[in-house]
């Protein structure tokens, strides 16, 4: 392939890379502005569990929760994605909590014994002709 042919491909790849990096940076801004305040007095875990998702996507986070500590689990997504649903599963995969019908984007709870749990998030499907992607952040704060 000649240098002339290579040049536009390299430019295209660079443009995409910067677009992708920009999307990631925008998600950080989105999370800081829209999500972080919702943790209120819970101390945030400093993990960056944020991604750009589209309708139909799922996200999963496995984390250890420590005994006798209070947690706020917040699933924060751009409104264009609709109402995100999420479930909390124990280490054996059994459902502990389901956000369906709760009309809340967060779940406050206390853990009696330290355990690993999985948070599973779904972005609803849409019939829209033009689909949008948006930032989704799974945030965990703790206190007490």
């Amino acid at each position: 392939m000649t240098a002339i042919k290579k040049f536009p491909l390299a430019v295209l790849a660079l443009v995409m890379m910067f677009t992708v990096a920009d999307a990631t940076a925008q998600c950080r801004t989105f999370t800081k502005k829209r999500c972080l305040p919702q943790l209120e007095d819970y101390v945030q875990n400093d993990n960056y569990n944020t991604a750009v998702l589209i309708p139909g996507d799922e996200a999963e986070l496995e984390l250890t929760f420590f005994g006798d500590r209070a947690y706020r689990l917040l699933v924060c997504g751009h409104p264009v994605l609709g109402d995100l649903s999420f479930q909390v599963l124990d280490s054996r995969g059994n459902g502990i909590y389901d956000s369906a019908d709760k009309e809340s984007d967060h779940f406050d709870f206390r853990v009696a014994n330290t355990q690993q749990m999985t948070i599973r998030v779904q972005v609803p499907q849409t019939d829209a002709v033009i689909q949008h992607e948006g930032c989704v952040s799974i945030m965990v704060g703790s206190k007490g």
């Binding site: 443009v15 945030q44 875990n45 991604a51 999963e60 986070l61 496995e62 853990v111 330290t114 033009i130």
Partner: protein, 307 residues
Amino acid sequence: MKLKHDRFTLSLRLATWMALPMMFFFVGCGETPEAPAASSNTETAMDEEGMMPARRQKAFKKIFHAVPSPIETALLLERSGIRFDAGALHSLDNASGYATTDLQSVNLGIYAGDLSYSVIFNQNQQSVDYLNTCRRLCDGLGVGDIISADLIDRANNNRDIRDSLVDIVTETFYALNGRFRENGMEEVSGLMAAGGWIEGVYLGTRNLNSSTDDLKLRIAEQKMTLENLMGLLRSYTPTAALTDMMTSLRPVEAAFAGVTITENAAAATAAEDGTVVISGGPEVNYDEATLTAISESIAAVRNQYAK
């Protein structure tokens, strides 16, 4: 025929060039896409509110891996009755001696552990000193602007208010993790997380003989967070530094093998005050010899990096 071959080669190269940035994006910090999707291209930038027209059509599952933050671990140690041990902290003077990205990354995590420990135990001047040291390492990693002079001033002005310092530390390390992801520096992020975890367990096991039963249980429970950490390290594209770290942690895994965890079903119930309490779950068993082995193995890997 040659024309067909050229077109095929061109398409293949085009796909490769286009796939590169998508790989950069999907194989991000602590994330594993279960089924990465093909993408359609658009040059539209995401708006400030965090959305834009979709660049792909096929849905997939994204797996995040996370470990407790150094602040969480320090809080856990404090609540378990541990006493502050300044002698266990990593020397501030060593920070300037780490010349490679790998050592800077791991030691940034180690110093983050010491910073968190100092903050939680109200060691105010020490907290600011450790934050300054983290800044020096961040400079070396090219992200020095995250811990700016203004941030150091803010920490100094709030050094007597623990909650403010906790906020500063968590915000700072969240921003660092985000920046590492933006810059495609997932290796640095993983090594930093490993360093923070190692230092937390190291500090928690320095005085096992005088430890409370609660602290011993908390140490044994770190078997679960070690699984989280190994999952995080495995989720990144393998590099020599990440492989070295996982190899270095093998003796620690072997020591934690002495901790037995019996899985039981968990259940959520509402307490009288309306709080949801998740009870049940795993039962953790260990003996003193196992704790000693954990203490020795974690000290070995910590001192291997923090020399």
